[in-house]
Amino acid sequence: MSDDFRARARAWLAANAPRRAAGDDEAEAESRGQAAVIAEQKAFQAKLHAAGFAGITWPKEYGGQGLTSAEQIIWSQESAGYDLPTGVFFIGLSMPGNTLVELGTDAQKRRYLPKMLSGEEIWCQLFSEPGAGSDVASLQTTAVRDGDEWVLNGQKVWTSGAQYSDFGAILARTDPTKPKHNGISMFIVDMHAPGVTVRPLKVATGHSPFNEVFFDNVRLPAGALIGEENKGWDAAVVMLRHERIAIGTMGSSRTSPLAFSTLRDLAAGLGRTADQGVRRELAELYARSRAVQLFALLLREETQAGRLPGARGSVAKLAGSDLGRFAGNVAADVLGDQLAAFDTAELAAVSTAIVAAPGSAIAGGTSEIQRNIIGERVLGLAKDPGVDRATPFNQLRVGTQREQ
């Protein structure tokens, strides 16, 4: 059965999927136009689904393949050498999708899951807020009951794909008199509903890979609640677990401009590799990069052997962010003043990657949060002395507000 699946997967990929290459999704979208990229990805996802390789572990009645994690692992192994054009579905399938499989009602699953898998509908995830940051549970977006429905107001930020998404999974506060974790609910929101405004968010690199999303009296219908009312934090924990797994097993599809081989070639081209210090820095970059790859490999081997990585996934994320910062410093040292100004695409890519590097130590949980997770859940250290877990949310100071 498994061998058969592997053979099928291998054959289909060879016939249908493009191989990995260097490059940058952002740049590709800018040069080809986003609409074209999305149309192509929708078509590919439909083909993937039709061939039986989408939703491998999801139930058949919701459009999945009804197979086991063994087939999922085989698929990951076989597809590792390809660059599947399914990026716009990544968030929806791995986060809201998996969460709906776990917590959704039968009606929700029948309505939404098949169209996710077939590429007809794209989803996003709406957790972060300007005032919440690392303290996700202090979110201020509200959903107020109005009969069977809810009325949604507030602002989300750092939303990837909001500009082309059809639906989103959103956290909103439904009871501000309860302590912060206990008054939150999760909903499905139609991103085309009246009152939803999506604005691109420009970041330090000058690109806009994220959005801000504003909700102004957006009505959520009766069936929009995911899980139970005021139990949204539990649903969020489920979704964040799926997020960690997704990010941990994602791998990178392109060669980074801050990779050892890229910087070595650039340094050699500038005649800088005769410098003993440059040689040592490049060697150290190789060692550190290699260790990050090897640790990810070790975690995958452990997972396949039945030992789940748990919070050690945070070690991988932290190590990746630290490596980005280190690589940026190496780039500055080995390229010297040639990095201060340039007119080649190679140096521009290095420069953009250095400017983007701090983003990875912030997005998806800051390095500070990762260190807390590692300290508490891997090493068993005591939690931070917290004073806000029992305080009613409406008596809590949040973000940069002087008073609530």
């Binding site: 690392s134 003043d337 100004a341 007119d343 500070e368 806000d388």
Partner: protein, 362 residues
């Protein structure tokens, strides 16, 4: 020789700080980015004509203020804090080279106009990876061929001073901005507050300046270290203030984030690095005026410490602001890019440490 500021220096710092706040706040850097101009010509006019900043180290006999290097470093610290875009650094290095060369004609011709802000002059120097220039011919027939990149304000300069290797060894040559065979390509600079260019010379007419080129270039390199250290100190202090301020008002988990040791201790380390770098900067500034023999080492020490400390502080500024610090609308990235650029301009950390090791006789 004392490290603390004199009353005159405190007054100078105050007036430059006020000028920056009034005439060149960070919003004006954003206007410069949007316009594509290298700097605000009106601000530059005021910096020179009104504040006399380009002439602080030029003797009064050549139209400058003769105020010395400590005063200059105090002014640069404030300009650095505000990321003021201007051709000042290029002009300072060019003026220093001319002063040290001692070529009377060049001094008469260039220094008063630099001091007055009427002429943008730059020194076309870069690291060894930035190309090289050779001279041939003689007298009026002297021409230069080669490339230098990146050159401070190389695209806008009215006059460029270009070090080149000729048959008699290295000399510094004067090239007019509009000379034949001079190609100037403005490059994409990491730092939005610097205008940098590649200059390519192809049989470009040039005039050799008299004097000891090696000594003049060494003096300019020392001054560059002092200037970049001063600008970095000011900018680093701005990062420290901005981030501490945010840590006092931003609340997470029911606490101002400055209550968390991950934030508090990072800021404490930033304060420590700033204080150490600032002390080294003051020492270098005083040495330049009072103990020139100690200046090369002292300027190297200040640059090495502050370039790294500022670059680290600027990354931490982004990090400790979290998501907002990574947005285009927030000022953190302006400092981050400036910090990166200040660290590598005219030679990165490794080259700076080599220079220091040489000076220390290791």
């Amino acid at each position: 020789m004392t490290l603390i500021l004199t009353d005159e220096e405190v007054a100078l710092a105050d007036s430059v700080r006020k000028f920056v706040a009034d005439r060149s706040p960070l919003t004006s850097l954003r206007q410069i980015i949007a316009s594509g101009e290298p700097f605000d010509a009106g601000v530059w006019k005021q910096m020179t004509a009104q504040l006399g900043l380009a002439g602080l180290t030029i003797p009064e006999s050549y139209g400058g203020a003769g105020a010395g290097y400590s005063a200059l470093s105090v002014a640069l610290t404030e300009l650095g804090a505000g990321l003021v875009a201007s051709p000042l650094l290029g002009c300072l290095l060019a003026a220093e080279a001319v002063l040290r060369l001692g070529d009377d004609t060049a001094k008469q011709e260039l220094l008063p106009k630099i001091a007055a802000g009427e002429l943008i002059v730059t020194l076309a120097v870069a690291s060894s990876a930035g190309g090289q220039v050779t001279a041939s011919g003689a007298g009026d027939g002297t021409v230069l061929t080669g490339t230098v990149s990146p050159v401070l304000n190389g695209a806008e300069a009215d006059v460029l001073l270009v070090p080149a290797d000729g048959t008699d060894g290295k000399a510094i040559y004067l090239v007019q901005g509009g000379a034949d065979g001079l190609a100037r390509t403005r490059l994409t600079a990491v730092d939005h507050s610097r205008s940098l260019a590649r200059i390519t010379l192809a049989g470009t007419p040039a005039r050799a300046l008299a004097g000891d080129a090696a000594a003049a270039l060494a003096a300019a390199a020392d001054l560059a270290n002092l200037a970049l250290a001063a600008e970095s100190a000011g900018a680093m202090k701005a990062c420290l203030d901005m981030t501490s301020g945010y840590a006092r008002i931003r609340v997470a988990f029911g606490q101002p984030i400055g209550a968390f040791q991950a934030v508090k201790h990072r800021l404490a380390d930033m304060e420590k690095s700033f204080e150490l770098g600032y002390a080294a900067l003051r020492d270098a500034a005083r040495a330049a005026d009072e103990k020139p023999g100690d200046f090369p080492v002292a300027a190297s020490v200040a640059r090495v410490l502050l370039a790294s400390a500022y670059a680290e502080a600027a990354v931490d500024t982004v990090q400790l602001h979290g998501g907002i610090g990574f947005t285009w609308e927030h000022d953190a990235h302006l400092y981050y890019k400036n910090g990166l650029s200040n660290k590598v301009l005219l030679g990165g950390p490794g080259e700076q440490l080599d220079r220091l090791a040489d000076a220390l006789g290791i």
